[in-house]
């Protein structure tokens, strides 16, 4: 057993309102700079939809993630040999138009326009070269089913549905959508790390955060095509790749990452998961339908004394262990099986998990005969579509999560109002495999948890990191001037 710690996340999609506060928080903090104007480390997509960059889920086009070859995971875009061959021409790389051309406006014209015969207006211009442009794409172009006949209709996940099912998804009283906020998954088996010819990408030992070293990156951009989630971005100004850093400077001071802190829908949970690194390769090599379960199996119970002992032996700190025992992510992912990985079939073992959204029931007269709450039978989005996102095609794991979500609500309704047949709640709990106590706990963590319960950050022992480079005779880390001297000093 090789126990390691990973700071992991759960996004509760039933609570997501698609507001993008997270996106702006991240943009303000990290990518409001030349070279990464187009980069949104955190973005929020409407599903069904084409996403950002457009059609990023289409791995026929982008060749991201892993396949299984000879019982072992292999990069879909090819191993080191193939990488070498494509160093100077990588056809799977997204180009600017797959993201969007960043724009701004000639706001200054409003002040400077000379007296004329009509009102001035600030024309849109390219943020790259200042020329007037026609804005035809953006990082959130198909928000709320905007352009549904074009964009939602292209969603690669719809390929799993019949033609009739696809068609009815675009009738006003049958259509549905939900939001999918995305950041880097800080995977256990990150394709970007494996693909980097320079060895510039690494997982941090203490928290599993995946980083692109801005010292070592040589702009080969193999990480960009290798990442199936398209969450590594090329900074055209510095010539380095950059990506979500899970706000490690905030984690290191005990603050939630910016997108977690600012999540006004209160959908985001963060906590430590322990896993057995020795079992990753096997887990990533299982058949698609078993991948969700395989990923759960590599997670280790922090309350288990044997696991704790192994963890200590592997160098996991006491603070991290303690945090792991309070981890809300552990409860959602492992204990309750409510949170599921996104596109597990790409085999990167993503460590961001999603509680699937309760879906609207069908509208119109049919509701007159329907039940009190959402039911799986009457959900607007076919389960096969959801299984394509959250179950690697396996509808059973998605259904199991839904049975629990629905059972919790029926249980609470019975307790709070008591207007439903008593058997309904009990039956739903039994079918979902939940005890009333578990249902209450799920409800509490979903509804009542405050920030310190939603986001549990371990102490990260920064002094150990700074010790080798610090002068112990002087003030430890907050010296006058530069934390890191400028080049040449």
């Amino acid at each position: 057993m090789n126990v390691r710690a990973q700071i992991s996340s759960v996004f509760h999609l039933d609570k997501c309102i698609g507001c993008h506060t997270c996106s702006v928080a991240c943009k303000n903090q990290w990518t409001d700079r030349r070279g990464v104007e187009y980069a949104w480390w955190n973005d929020v997509e409407t599903k069904p939809g084409a996403g950002y960059p457009v059609l990023w889920e289409d791995q026929e086009k982008y060749r991201g993630g892993w396949t299984v070859e000879g019982g072992r995971p292999a990069l879909r875009q090819g191993g080191p040999g193939a990488t070498l061959a494509r160093l100077f021409h990588n056809p799977a790389l997204p180009v600017l138009k797959d993201y969007y051309e960043p724009f701004t406006y000639r706001y200054q014209d409003l002040f400077d326009a000379p007296a004329g015969d009509d009102q001035p207006t600030a024309r849109p211009i390219s943020l790259l070269d200042g020329r007037p442009i026609d804005i035809e794409s953006g990082p959130n172009w198909d928000d709320d089913l905007g352009g549904s006949p074009v964009y939602a209709a292209q969603d690669p996940g719809l390929a799993r549905l019949t033609a009739a099912e696809r068609e009815q998804l675009f009738e006003v009283e049958r259509l549905a959508f939900f939001y999918l906020p995305r950041i880097c998954n800080h995977c256990l088996n990150p394709a970007c790390v494996a693909a980097c010819p320079s060895g510039a990408i690494y997982k941090r030992g203490e928290d599993g955060v995946v980083l692109v070293s801005q010292d070592k990156c040589r702009s080969w951009r193999m990480c960009i095509s290798a990442c199936p989630y398209k969450k590594v971005y090329y900074n055209w100004s510095t010539g380095k790749s950059e990506k979500c850093i899970l706000c490690y400077p905030r984690l290191e001071v005990g603050e939630a990452p910016a997108c977690f802190h600012t999540c006004v829908g209160r959908i985001r949970y963060l906590g430590v998961l322990l896993y057995d690194a020795d079992r990753l390769a096997a887990a990533a090599s299982r058949p698609d339908a078993e991948l969700v379960e395989a990923q759960r199996e590599v997670l280790l119970d922090p309350a288990d004394p044997a696991v704790a002992a192994e963890a200590r032996a592997s160098g996991v700190s006491e603070q991290v262990l303690e945090a792991a025992r309070r981890s809300p992510v552990w409860r959602f992912v492992k204990e309750w099986g409510l949170a599921l990985p996104l596109h597990a079939e790409w085999r990167t073992l993503p460590m961001l998990f999603y509680v699937p959204p309760l879906l609207p029931a069908l509208a119109g007269p049919a509701e007159g005969d329907g039940g009190f709450f959402t039911s799986l039978e009457r959900a607007r989005l076919p389960l096969r579509y959801l299984a394509g996102l959250f179950g690697a095609g396996n509808t059973e794991v998605v259904e199991a999560a839904y049975r629990k979500l629905i059972a919790v609500r029926l249980h609470r309704r019975a307790a709070q109002v008591g207007d439903l047949p008593p058997a309904a709640a009990a039956g739903a709990l039994a079918a979902a495999g939940l005890t009333p106590r578990q249902a209450d706990e799920i409800y509490r963590l979903t509804a009542l948890a405050s920030m310190p319960e939603r986001v549990v950050i371990p102490g990260l022992a920064r002094e150990e990191q700074t010790e080798p480079t610090a002068d112990p005779q002087r003030q430890y880390a907050a010296g006058f001037g530069f934390l890191r001297p400028p080049v040449g000093r």
Binding site: K15, H20, G146, Y248, G265, P365, R409
Partner: protein
């Protein structure tokens, strides 16, 4: 896996400091966004190197209780993009002046040493006036100095005071709660001047008139945490998950705790996506849906089976048991007035007996007079204005009879108009006969009339509904199908779930409601239909229950001291407060484009003629004359001049001046300005705009503003229609263009209003000034603070108006050196005895009664203005507060010692031999408010409750006992948001970890609502409402294109599609704020697009992101289309509200002029019933009562833009 290595080596990871450096900041300062969103979110502003780097939400709201989700984090995508503005190219960094005016001004100043003379030389010359007016909005702004700008503004102000009078100087700023001192800065300046503040809540069409109609309350709602207690949440006309971003998690959390969330919405909105049940009803038809729901509730939960909780509730807390006299009308009977106690021998001699109403007591089997009605509120003997079920004369316990069914003397056939179907239904109603001063009359209970109105027969004869499937009878589930498109089965299921939940939980059902219902012409009817469903099920005044109206309703919690300070009432009363809808309808000449017939089509009545007849302007003039509504300018001459003339005629005292004015008005030697609105003597002259986008975002009829106010270009195609149609006002053949001499805009961004103004003054952003913020979405108070000093040449609103006041005082020492007497006209005011003024409709101008100021006509007051000391008064908290105490909602309590504490302990200013608490700095003003307000000073709260106790006669001060020692300061708020204390100025109860829900005080402590009966009203007892057939909940047809005639003058270019045009609140802006910033534009589509259905789009050859032109007679909009299947056919959405300043091409159908904004396609239509006044809850208060600027009854024609857009 060998290729995945965890890296721990510190040396190789030293580069990580790169991002750590980016994250570092030097300080964090608490502030918020003074923007009109009602969010009231506390934010931490991160400052690095003296520059604002970014903002994140504060997480430190004190938790209300551990079994309610917390408020952290509050703040949305828009708020978090605010820092973009500070250093952006859109920032107004310096003062600007319109070039054409600058040239004129400098030339005039070269010629005239006196700035006032210089200004006069410009505006007295029609040619020079036209020159800069026509240049408005067309570029040519030039940078100027503060000195020059202030001098010009002050000179125009002083000139206008002298030439036209103070009531020609107006100001507009919305929603004070979001930054209450910034608002107060301008309003204090204007009111000390004698100027006019325009209202906003009604103008924005956010005022839900049903709230004063039913509850006598402007608006009071639950904080969002209270939703969590609700077990059945209905959202209608509201898109909470898009527009209530920081609150909507409470809905999700309530759902996970067993609540059902139902959304009524025409489109598959983001809230519908979030709901258990989406009811896709047709736009603007929510009222029909609820009337049918009420039909089912009445039948199944009040008639077939009586739910004891419901029956008890409506008997205690509503007007259901009150008696209505039936009146003969031909063969049938119609509901008339509520029977007053004065008509009964038993209650002869009762003070205000015309305003004490009767119910039928079961025990004595007689009509009796319960406590708590309006007469008890204003009578001399206090202590019987409460909801105890006792007879107000002898204290006997009363048991109200709800229905006469089974105990009736007779059944009368009562006529009910079904306007939409153009018929009258006659239905039997059980009545009792009562001997009155006028002989025997028949009375029915409101409860019985409610059954009859909804067609629920209970075995009675007449044209009642046969069953739910009877589509011909109003208001059955089958009947509503044709209007709503909703299946009858859904209505029945909804009603049963609703009422069952309420029965099980004692009223924990709630309605979230907003602009999507409130911004229609007949919005108050739709609201009343929903409120009926709430009250019938005991859901009002409960945690988890109630009508939660969330649009523009920001709550200024410390209202009493704030109002004193904001309206200069610490120096003189009354203030000049104008309802903006009437003002703009009249002054921007929108009335000229409307005919008399338009009103009769919009608002159908059973018996046309009489009171309901005429042009909307006729109703408006009558409302002013009778004191129902204010109107400024008041008279056809300066109010200074009026006083001078009265004095010249021998008047000495204020009373003699008033008497002279009344005589002159009666003899028509003196006229109201509204009677000749286009006369130059009636024009507003100088307009201050701050904190708002008065010329576009809120300017219903924006193009009419451009034509008639500004005198610049416009895109109107409509023809005038009022010639010969208006009886009460003068028609002038030539409509004036360019009424305004000067428009001054305080702004931090170059928005449309700034672009069209003459003077643009650089205002501090929300991160550069100190201020206070409250909202009704939560129950905390917290500050805005200067994280950095005002950037470039910006100044806070407080400092700007202070500077203008100083300059005005300086010029006044020459031009207005002595105190001036000013005559102020004010309408009959709510929460005063003027609620007893006009029981009947009688017009003194027609000789129907005597003109009596404050009774049958506006009140008249003489106020002394002191312009040389204007600035000193501005910065000093005046002595009237100390002497008169604080007042709100008809309550007054003493605060002299608190005032003295301010003088003793806080900074003061000294002049004229007196010391006053200093208001020189905004933070000082904040501390003064906090020290006086019951919501932040426990002693003040205790005293206010004591005052309320006296009026009500029941114990209340215990509510403030535990927190009597609380004293909050601005410094406290800087540390942490603080929860507001309970206060009788509001109606929720929050002690002991409770969430705020409206009217708990009324239900639990038996404090009456401020209505005629003191109860919640199903029945609106007013002759005007009776004439318009709106006394009972009713359905009136949604006006269609043929009625609205939006496209009469607009040529059709085919292929086109005609769509109902809706402007709901959107995702990427708060009105126009944020919508022009790069973050929000990037996350949307770089433009404010028109959302339309895919089939409607295909029909006119429009693909997603194509350019389209939307036009009607009012103007034109050019934008891109978003084509989506989530929008139903027949309507389009242009989310509120785009600027014309960002990315708007020219409009081919209007001469290739710049395309307009969303309000280029609107104009207002005022509803006459909302102008009524002087009786009970139908009595004016600003932002409280009056017609609204409704805007959803609008159609546009959409075509594809040919070729490339022209810039």
């Amino acid at each position: 896996m060998s290729w995945i290595q965890d890296l721990v080596s510190p040396r190789e990871r030293a580069w990580e400091d790169l991002y750590r450096n980016r994250h570092q900041h030097d300080k964090v300062v608490r502030s918020t966004h003074g923007v009109n969103c009602t969010g009231g979110c506390s934010w931490n502003i991160h400052v690095k190197n003296g520059v604002v780097a970014l903002e994140t939400q504060a997480l430190d709201y004190p938790r209300i209780s551990c079994d309610v989700p917390g408020y952290e984090p509050r703040g949305c995508q828009r708020g978090i993009s605010a820092s973009w503005y500070l250093y952006s190219p859109l920032r107004v960094k310096h003062p600007y002046l319109r070039g054409a005016l600058m040239d004129l001004w400098r030339a005039a100043r070269a010629e005239h040493a006196d700035p006032v003379a210089a200004w006069a030389s410009i505006v007295d010359d029609p040619a020079s006036r036209r020159r800069y007016q026509e240049a408005r909005g067309k570029g040519g702004l030039r940078r100027t100095t503060w000195e020059e700008a202030l001098e010009l503004v002050a000179a125009s102000t002083v000139h206008t005071l002298k030439r036209h009078g103070p009531d020609r100087i107006i100001g507009f700023s919305p929603i004070p709660a979001m930054s209450m001192l910034s608002f107060a800065a301008g309003s204090r300046f204007l009111q000390l001047l004698g100027g006019v503040n325009l209202s906003f809540y009604d103008w924005y069409c956010d005022l839900p008139n049903a709230s004063p109609e039913v509850w006598g309350e402007q608006t009071d709602v639950a904080e969002s945490a209270d939703w969590y207690h609700s077990k059945y949440i209905v959202s209608m006309g509201s898109n909470v998950s898009m527009t209530r971003t920081p609150d909507v998690h409470f809905v999700a959390e309530a759902r996970h705790d067993g609540a059902k969330f139902v959304v009524l919405s025409p489109d598959f909105s983001t809230s519908a996506k979030y709901a258990d049940w989406w009811v896709p009803l047709h736009a603007g038809q929510d009222g029909a849906f609820w009337l049918a729901v009420d039909h089912v509730i009445l039948k199944e939960f009040h008639a077939d089976r009586q739910v004891p909780f419901f029956a008890d509730y409506v008997g205690r807390y509503s007007d259901a048991p009150f008696l209505v006299e039936l009146e003969r009308e031909g063969e049938a009977w119609v509901p008339g007035r509520m029977l007053p106690a004065s008509q009964l021998a038993r209650y002869a001699g009762e003070e205000h007996g015309d305003f004490k109403f009767l119910l039928w007591d079961e025990a004595s089997d007689a009509p009796r007079m319960p406590q708590g009605t309006l007469g008890f509120r204003w009578q001399h003997a206090k202590g019987r204005w409460n909801l105890e079920l006792k007879d107000g004369s002898d204290g006997a316990a009363l048991a109200p009879r709800l229905s006469f069914l089974g105990a009736h003397d007779a059944r009368y056939r009562v006529a009910f108009a079904e306007h939409a179907e153009g018929k009258v239904a006659h239905r039997e109603v059980p009545v009792r006969h009562v001997e009155t001063a006028r002989g025997r009359v028949a009375v029915a209970t409101v409860y019985d009339l409610l059954f009859a109105r909804h067609g629920v027969s209970r075995g009675l004869g007449g044209e009642y509904a046969k069953d739910y499937d009877d589509a011909e009878a109003a208001y059955t589930p089958a009947w509503q199908e044709r209007y709503t498109g909703v299946d009858r089965k859904d209505v029945i299921k909804f009603a049963r779930e609703w009422a069952t939940t309420a029965e099980r939980t004692n009223g924990k059902c709630s309605v979230i409601i907003g602009a999507g219902v409130n911004q229609w012409y007949h919005a108050d009817l739709a609201y009343r239909a929903a409120i009926t469903g709430l009250v019938l099920c005991g859901c009002v005044g409960r945690n988890g229950g109630g009508l939660n109206h969330y649009v523009g309703q920001e709550k200024l919690a410390p209202v009493a001291p704030w109002a004193a300070l904001a309206f200069g009432l610490d120096w003189a009363k009354p203030a000049r407060l104008q309802n903006a809808p009437s003002f703009h309808y009249v002054h921007s000449d929108q009335w000229r484009y409307e005919g008399a017939a338009d009103l009769s089509h919009l608002n159908q009545v059973r018996a046309p003629g009489g009171f309901t007849a005429g042009h909307t302007l006729d109703h408006q003039v009558r409302a002013v004359r009778q004191g129902w509504l204010p109107f400024f300018p008041q008279l056809d001459r300066s109010p200074f001049e009026v006083v001078r003339q009265a004095e010249a005629a021998g008047a000495r005292t204020d009373q003699e001046i008033a008497d002279w004015v009344v005589r002159q008005l009666r003899e028509k030697k003196l006229r109201f300005a509204v009677e000749d609105p286009d006369a130059p003597s009636s024009w507003p002259r100088v307009w201050f705009i701050w904190r708002g986008n008065a010329l576009l975002a809120s300017a219903k009829g924006h193009e009419y503003f451009l034509r008639h106010y500004l005198g610049t270009h416009d895109a109107i195609a409509a023809g005038e229609a009022a010639r010969g149609e208006v009886k009460e006002a003068v028609w002038r053949e030539e409509a004036p263009r360019g009424k305004l001499d000067l428009i001054v805009d305080l702004n931090f961004r170059m928005d449309t209003s700034a672009l069209y103004s003459d003077v643009v003054l650089p205002a501090a952003t929300w991160y550069e000034k100190d201020d206070l913020n409250t909202t009704d979405m939560h129950s905390y108070i917290h500050p805005l603070q200067a994280a950095v000093p005002p950037c470039w040449e910006a100044r806070s609103d407080w400092d700007i108006f202070k500077a203008v006041a100083e300059k005005v005082s300086e010029l006044a020492r020459v031009h207005l050196p002595r105190p001036v007497r000013d005559l102020v006209l004010s309408p009959l005011q709510h929460d005063t005895p003027a609620e007893l003024a006009q029981r009947e409709l009688r017009d003194w101008a027609k000789g129907e009664c005597e003109p009596v100021p404050g009774k049958t006509m506006p009140g008249l007051a003489v106020v002394e203005r002191d312009y040389p000391n204007l600035h000193r008064r501005f910065i000093s908290l005046g002595p009237v507060v100390r002497k008169a105490g604080l007042s709100a909602h008809g309550l007054t309590w003493p605060v002299a010692d608190l005032y003295d504490e301010l003088v003793r302990d806080r900074p003061t200013v000294e002049w004229g031999g007196e010391r006053y608490p200093s208001l020189e700095k905004a933070a000082q003003a904040a501390d003064a408010i906090l020290h006086l307000a019951p919501e932040t000073n426990g002693e003040s709260a205790w005293r206010a409750f004591k005052a309320e106790e006296e009026k009500v006669g029941l114990p209340l001060a215990d509510l403030a006992e535990k927190t009597r020692g609380v004293r909050l300061t601005f410094a406290d708020l800087a540390r942490q948001p603080r929860r507001l204390l309970d206060s009788p100025c509001w109606t929720g109860l929050t002690g002991g970890g409770r969430t705020y829900s409206a009217y708990c005080l009324n239900v639990e402590r038996l404090v009456p609502w401020r209505t005629l009966t003191g109860r919640q009203h199903f029945y609106l007892d007013h002759p005007g409402f009776l004439a318009f057939d709106e006394a009972l909940p009713t359905y009136k047809a949604k006006p269609e294109l043929a009625v609205l005639r939006d496209l009469d003058a607009t040529a059709d270019r085919r292929p086109s599609v005609t769509l109902n045009y809706l402007t709901p609140h959107g995702k990427w802006g708060i009105h126009s704020t944020y919508g022009d910033n790069l973050r929000m534009l990037t996350l949307s589509r770089g433009i404010h697009p028109l959302w339309m259905n895919d089939e409607d789009a295909a029909g006119i050859g429009v693909a997603d992101n194509d350019w389209v032109e939307a036009v009607n007679d009012n103007g034109a909009v050019v934008t891109r289309a978003v084509v989506s299947a989530r929008i139903p056919r027949g309507l389009c959405l242009l989310y509120h509200s785009p600027e014309r300043t960002v990315g708007v091409p020219r409009a081919p159908s209007r001469g290739n002029r710049r395309g307009g904004g969303h309000n280029s396609l609107t104009r207002v239509r005022l509803k006459p019933t909302l102008m009524l006044g002087g009786y009970g809850q139908f009595t004016y208060a600003v932002n409280y009562w009056g017609p609204t600027g409704n805007n959803r009854d609008t159609f546009v024609r959409v075509t594809k833009l040919e070729g490339a857009p022209r810039w």
